[in-house]
Amino acid sequence: MSGMAEIAPAAPETPLQRFVRDFTSNRLAVGALVVVLLIALAAIFAPWITPQNPYDLAQLDIMDGRLPPGASSAAGMTYWLGTDDQGRDMLSGIIYGLRISLIVGIGSALIAGVVGSTLGLVAAYAGGRVETAIMRLVDLQLSFPAILVALMILAFLGKGIGNVMIALVLVEWARYARTARGAALVERRREYIEAAECLALPRWRVLFRHLLPNCLPPLIVIGTIQIARAITLEATLSFLGLGVPITEPSLGLLIANGYQYMLSGQYWISFYPGLALLLTIMAINLVGDQLRDVLNPRQQR
């Protein structure tokens, strides 16, 4: 895999411009990016835009429970997407839920990405015993199925957003390490690294200033996909009853709560969070997909 630096010089545009042009060539991906940004904005500004704080028990009333979309509360507030069994406004619940999903997804992907890529780069650059040790650890991690590892970790640690993130990081870091090492092994043999080494630059500098930037494209692709994976995994864990606490439901837990009401026709409790989850994951996956196409030089030939 070659970096973009190599392709760029022939073109009159900067790498960034080229990247933007390539990315925007797919209208679906642009739409997805807009959706991702909107979701992120909604999640960031949740406390200011939601009609209710769905995590404050004092603001909920079970007498408003399971109201259909468009119904009003005794206090005159309209529940546009209905309420769940605790009388939680679904719209507020979904926006706050998105917030948790994104925090968990992006947070765990970032931490896992930093830890994993660092280890991967170190492995590739150091070689020898260090490499063997790190890569054995990677193999060990990848030889356990993610869902089971996360299940066991959460069974030990108990519920909570922090614990879910720990579980997801432990499950995910190895993929980054493997990718980073793969990319770095290719880059290492290139002239610019040899040049840098000849100049007797410090090792860490070669590693992070020269090697890392050129290994970034595949890592970004993996990272995007991993965010979506993490969000799905968190939803699944919450569905199995091991994720976030019930008073602070994420999208997965909202779906799980509403799941019991599907057969009795109160579809909105799990339908809308399901839709929100699907939309989020699909948008992230679409963006990741386009990134892969744009950043993968083999297909550009």
């Binding site: 028990l57 007498m63 019930i246 008073t247 799941y259 057969l263």
Partner: protein
């Protein structure tokens, strides 16, 4: 989503192909809510096992639908002496292997129970009161107890009789394989697929009324939605533990029929009665040098702040009744007029202020989220209600294994639990839940709120030594009233047990939650 006509016909045709019509009419397919862990009736005291065992085996004394003792393998029983119970056994009863049922089988069963290997929950708790067994003649047996023990017939409802010809210490595996799964019950064991299903055939030599079903397929479908879906799609004919969320829809479905009764299971909140408690702090999170929950007024306020009708109506969707004591109306030792306190948040605030907490306090309310019907939702609702009287409540629902471990260690201040009174009378919850923790006597074994009231203990001691039913009932009622007036715990509601079946079937709903194919009948 909506099928066209052709699809319906095709669907029906496919469904018809999967089972020959003749087998269908004679077979009852039961959807059970929890996995059976063994066919050995003495291996694990676990209600799904007991529910299944009632098809294959029989006890001396059984419970009727309202959990009152009725004769089964014993025709009658009486106290012949203060510490001697005499049982007259039913003649002409045969085991599935053709052998006659006699007193020797009863003696053999009582002898085997404490010796079952590796039992995670031994049935010896139901036989330990027996000090010796005396076989008078093949159809009369006397059971001696160390002290006066009026509850023996009730304990024996859990003891299923197996034939003594199984020999010394039959292994649990041999029951699971079917080799030793021999009882006197209305069905005989055919096969057991762990985690999936148990197949049974009618016992055509059964001494009592013959079941309507030639064959019973007893399937385990723990997932609530899947169980309901299985009934709706016609995969099973009869399901237990209908999820409260589906009750409304199923009861409107003309192709289905529901049966319900009030359960002996009560859902309640424990409050910590110790001097210091882990999860209560002042209104601003500051440490307190005492436990506010030891003040009766605080406990009353917390109970009064709960709108039980709202919980029953909105969370349980009507599948419960608000309760103020251990047992539902109609049970032995039920106290008439002992109702839960009326919902009164204003008075609750006053009581809190009078107790010295005008600004309330902070508390953590814990509970399982996978054990009792809607457990996690109930504590959230209680959290809402307590927050409204100024008690800032943090709700924490966790899975049962970690919950119960912590509850046993006394790690909680306020928490939700349930109690199913299998004996159908109040001495059982009084002894286990309310009595002062006394390991030597086996009292207060699950008194996880560390409650202690010498007057209650005294009344209970007297009651347990009183053979006369009427006198004992009175004592138990007094003890119950004392404990409830003192808010030993906060009772919330009694669950309702709900079964759903295809139209054309009837079931006399049982208070003890068990599902029995022999009691399912085609409607006349």
């Amino acid at each position: 989503m909506f099928p066209t006509c052709r699809m319906v016909i095709l669907g029906a045709a496919l469904a018809a192909l999967t089972l020959p019509p003749a087998a269908r009419a004679q077979t009852l397919r039961v959807g059970a809510s929890a996995p059976v862990t063994s066919i050995d009736p003495h291996y694990h005291t676990y209600s799904p096992n007991v529910s299944l065992d009632a098809h294959i085996y029989e006890p001396l004394v059984d419970m009727d639908a309202a959990s009152r003792p009725i004769p089964r393998l014993a025709l009658s029983w009486k106290l012949v002496d203060n510490t001697v119970w005499e049982f007259h056994l039913r003649p002409g009863v045969k085991f599935h292997n053709g052998e006659d049922f006699t007193a020797a089988d009863v003696a053999y069963t009582i002898d085997r129970i404490p010796r079952v290997k590796n039992s995670p929950g031994s049935y010896a708790i139901y036989t330990k009161a027996i000090s010796s067994v005396e076989v008078v003649d093949p159809h009369t047996i006397r059971l001696h107890t160390k002290q006066v023990y009026p509850l023996l017939p009730i304990d024996l409802t859990q003891v299923y009789i197996i034939p003594h010809t199984l020999g010394a210490d039959p292994a649990t595996e041999d029951f699971n394989s079917g080799k030793d799964a021999i009882g006197t019950g209305p069905f005989r064991f055919v096969s057991y697929k762990s985690g999936d299903r148990i197949e049974m055939d009618r016992n055509d030599n059964y001494w009592g009324p013959k079941p309507d079903w030639q064959h019973v397929s007893y399937r385990m479908i723990p997932n609530d939605a899947a169980r309901t879906a299985a009934l709706l799609s016609g995969d099973v004919d009869f399901i237990e533990a209908v999820p409260t969320t589906d009750v409304a829809r199923l009861s409107h479905d003309k192709k289905l029929h529901l049966a319900e009764t009030v359960s002996l299971r009560i859902i309640f909140l424990w409050l910590d009665h110790r001097g210091m408690t882990p999860h209560v702090t002042g209104p601003n999170g500051e440490k307190l040098d005492h436990n506010p929950l030891t003040d009766l007024r605080v406990r009353q306020a917390l109970s009064m702040a709960i709108n039980r009708n709202a919980i029953v109506d909105r969370i349980m969707q009507g599948a419960a009744i608000p309760s103020g004591q251990f047992l539902p109306k109609g049970s032995f030792s039920y106290v008439p007029g002992l109702n839960p306190p009326a919902y009164d948040p204003a008075k609750a605030r006053q009581l809190l202020a009078a107790a010295g907490y005008p600004k309330g306090f902070r508390i953590e309310l814990d509970g399982p989220n996978d054990r009792y019907v809607n457990d996690g939702k109930i504590i959230q609702a209680v959290g809402q209600m307590w927050s409204r009287i100024g008690v800032q409540t943090a709700v924490n629902a966790i899975t049962w294994p970690s919950f119960i471990g912590q509850a046993n260690k006394g790690a909680f201040s306020a928490f939700l639990l349930g109690w199913g009174t299998s004996s159908g009378e109040a001495s059982n919850p009084l002894r286990s839940l309310i009595a002062t923790r006394t390991p030597a006597k086996g009292w207060g074994a699950v008194n996880r709120g560390f409650y202690s009231n010498p007057k209650v203990d005294e009344l209970l001691t007297t009651a347990l030594a009183t053979a006369d039913d009427a006198a004992r009932e009175k004592l138990l009622q007094q003890a119950t009233t004392l404990a409830m007036d003192d808010v030993a715990f906060i009772p919330l509601h009694n669950q309702k047990n709900i079964w759903a079946m295809r139209a054309g079937l009837t079931y006399a709903a049982r208070a003890d939650e068990t599902s029995r194919a022999q009691e399912v009948h085609p409607a006349k």
